[in-house]
């Protein structure tokens, strides 16, 4: 593999935490401003992908283990369905809002939407990263 230039490597290292932060911001403010779970999740995932491209997948996998990412993805999926069932058991319909709406315009508001945003965001982010690991590892090992 060709060496990646120092500029790219150093910038990626400095940029990486901010990208994660920006992803989290988009996820958590999805109900107030442009953005949302999927968009934030994609930025979250592409931060990990960028790190993987620059530092190599093996080094990235030490920090973000595939086991853990895949666990987050599976649990996120389960939480989404269980949220639907909870709404039903609490007397409403499937996926109906069972969390109080709170003060409109602040971050902890909008009831279930915030939590579903978090679920979708982390699921998409981790899912994209795991798929990237698999695709890269499959191509490089032989």
């Amino acid at each position: 593999m060709r060496r990646i230039s120092n500029v790219v490597r150093i910038f990626t290292r400095k940029l990486f935490p901010f990208m994660l932060l920006y992803g989290c911001y988009l996820i958590s403010h999805g109900h107030l401003s442009p953005g949302g779970g999927f968009q934030g999740g994609v930025i979250f995932g592409s931060a990990i992908i960028l790190l993987g491209l620059v530092e190599g997948v093996k080094a990235t996998e030490k920090r973000f283990q595939e086991m853990l990412l895949s666990l987050v993805k599976n649990i996120g999926m389960l939480v989404f369905v269980l949220a639907g069932f909870t709404g039903m058991f609490l007397g409403g319909f499937f996926l109906s809002d069972f969390i109080p709406k709170g003060e409109i315009g602040t971050v902890p508001s909008a009831g279930l939407i915030l939590y579903l945003n978090l679920t979708v965001g982390f699921m998409v982010g981790t899912g994209i990263a795991v798929v990237f690991y698999r695709l890269v590892r499959f191509g490089s090992n032989d």
């Binding site: 599976n74 999926m77 389960l78 369905v81 269980l82 639907g84 069932f85 709404g87 039903m88 409403g92 319909f93 499937f94 996926l95 109906s96 809002d97």
Partner: protein, 487 residues
């Protein structure tokens, strides 16, 4: 207010994720247990709605509590009840077959449950975009299931299926966009209420939407010019997946045609004879499928081509859009789902025990496997439509409908199709009972086939015979469905 409609879909969906999580639990055969109990629970909730639905009432369910045109709503009526019952019944037996000797991984059960949940979602939904999402879910699950055994040919088959389907379904999304631009809603009831007036003002747009939908659903159900993915995918997939593809996934395209065409275009296009196009396509599919099945050398490819022919038969009944025609089409959908799945099971058992794929290597196999051969013969008679079988009843209905229409050409083509089917299956039966000695493959270790595989096959065969003797049980189920389509 009953929660049954969503529970029918959501329980298999939840089970799909739980199945995947059993890898953390280290339970032996945990995945199978979860999958089986989920389908049983789903079937139980379907049965609780039977008294209401079969008395021609409709159960509506608003998801999230948002009232109908704004949120997504589900509807359980006669037609969706009939299809859900078929899907759950055949799905359970596919699951029984999968329990056998060959150990399928957890991911297999997860994807199988996702596929079944997606079919149930398509069947119950009342929102056109939601239908698209569930169609994609079903498609993704089936692409992956086809490649399950990692044979190189399955991967190419899956790739071909994927590219064809996705390229077409982009146009389906275009049709949804056009419908949305015309009516400002995605709810099927709202669209259906507004479409007749729009047809008066902008007929071209409605024709465009109809043709796009015909092609999109046609590629799912394998009507003639769009069938090319079926033979390769069906013959190369693992046996239970072949059963799923031929038995259920092809039928979902037919369901969508029945539901969407009769709801949206029932009073406009179908009343003006657009059904003749469907009849024409159906006849071509019938003769092409049956004819191609006649010249196949591999058993599973033969069955796959025969599926195309039978779908053509159903399309003829669907295009007639009369009481008898729809009754026959629905009955034949039900019969074909059972018969073709069981035939694929028989072929799977034969192939895994002998290692032979080609028909001419299976000469005299009845001495080795008398039970499976006998089941195969009974099922073949049912596909052809020989009287004491269920296939006879449904084909009789469709032919009766054509007779009432007094169209000799369609009649002739149908009989030609039946003759070709008969020729093709009698050829198989003749090979099986050929007097020459059956030779085992050199140094081939037969994969053992367990009781579950045989059990699933025999249950299907038994049901085919019983339904052939007492067809009124199923006709009572079909009557409400026909009343939904032709009010």
């Amino acid at each position: 207010m009953t929660n049954a409609p969503i529970l029918i879909i959501a329980i298999p969906l939840l089970a799909a994720f739980l199945t995947h999580l059993t890898k953390y639990a280290r339970a032996r055969r945990g995945a199978e247990l979860v999958a089986f109990s989920a389908l049983l629970a789903s079937a139980y909730f379907l049965l609780t709605t039977a008294p209401v639905v079969l008395s021609d009432q409709v159960i509506k369910y608003n998801l999230g509590g948002w009232s109908a045109p704004f949120g997504i709503s589900l509807q359980l009526d006669g037609l969706s009840f009939f299809f859900s019952a078929m899907v759950l019944g055949v799905g359970l037996l596919i699951l029984v077959y999968s329990l056998g000797i060959y150990l399928y991984a957890r991911r297999y059960y997860s994807l199988l449950l996702i596929a079944i949940a997606a079919i149930l979602g398509i069947v119950l939904t009342r929102d056109i975009f939601n239908m698209y999402v569930f169609f994609e879910m079903l498609a993704v699950a089936s692409y992956v299931l086809i490649t399950y055994k990692h044979k190189p040919r399955t991967i190419i088959a899956s790739f071909k299926y994927l590219v064809m389907t996705e390229a077409t379904w982009v146009f389906f999304l275009l049709a949804i966009a056009l419908l949305y631009s015309l009516t400002g809603s995605l709810n099927m009831d709202v669209i259906a209420a507004q479409l007749p007036q729009i047809y008066q003002a902008q007929p071209h747009m409605v024709y465009l939407i109809f043709s796009i939908m015909l092609i999109s659903f046609g590629i799912k159900c394998g009507m003639f010019p769009l069938h090319t993915w079926i033979p390769e995918a069906n013959s190369q997939a693992p046996t239970p997946v072949s059963g799923l593809l031929s038995g259920l996934i092809l039928k979902v395209g037919l369901y969508a045609m029945l539901r969407v065409f009769f709801l949206f275009f029932g009073s406009t296009l179908l009343a003006q004879g657009v059904g003749n196009i469907i009849i024409f396509i159906g006849i071509i599919s019938l003769i092409f499928g049956a004819g191609m099945a006649l010249v196949q050398v591999e058993l599973k490819r033969l069955l796959a081509y025969s599926s195309i022919g039978q779908i053509g038969f159903i399309l003829v009944g669907l295009g007639l859009a009369t009481q008898w025609g729809l009754q026959g089409a629905l009955f034949h959908i039900f019969n074909h789902a059972m018969i073709k799945t069981a035939l694929f099971f028989c072929a799977g058992i034969i192939i895994s025990q002998t290692g032979f794929w080609r028909l001419n290597q299976m000469k005299g196999i009845w001495r080795q496997m008398p039970g499976v051969t006998f089941a195969f013969c009974l099922l073949s008679l049912a596909v052809i439509g020989i009287p004491p079988s269920n296939g006879f009843v449904s084909k009789f209905f469709i032919i009766e409908a054509v007779l009432l229409k007094q169209n000799c050409l369609i009649m002739f083509c149908l009989f030609l199709g039946i003759l070709l089917t008969a020729a093709c299956y009698f050829r198989v039966i003749q090979t099986f009972f050929s007097p020459s000695e059956f030779h085992h493959k050199q140094d081939f270790i037969p994969q053992p086939v367990g009781h579950f595989e045989h059990l699933a096959t025999y249950i299907f065969t038994f049901l085919c015979v019983v339904i052939g003797l007492f067809p009124t049980v199923i006709i009572n189920l079909i009557q409400p469905a026909v009343r939904v389509l032709l009010p």
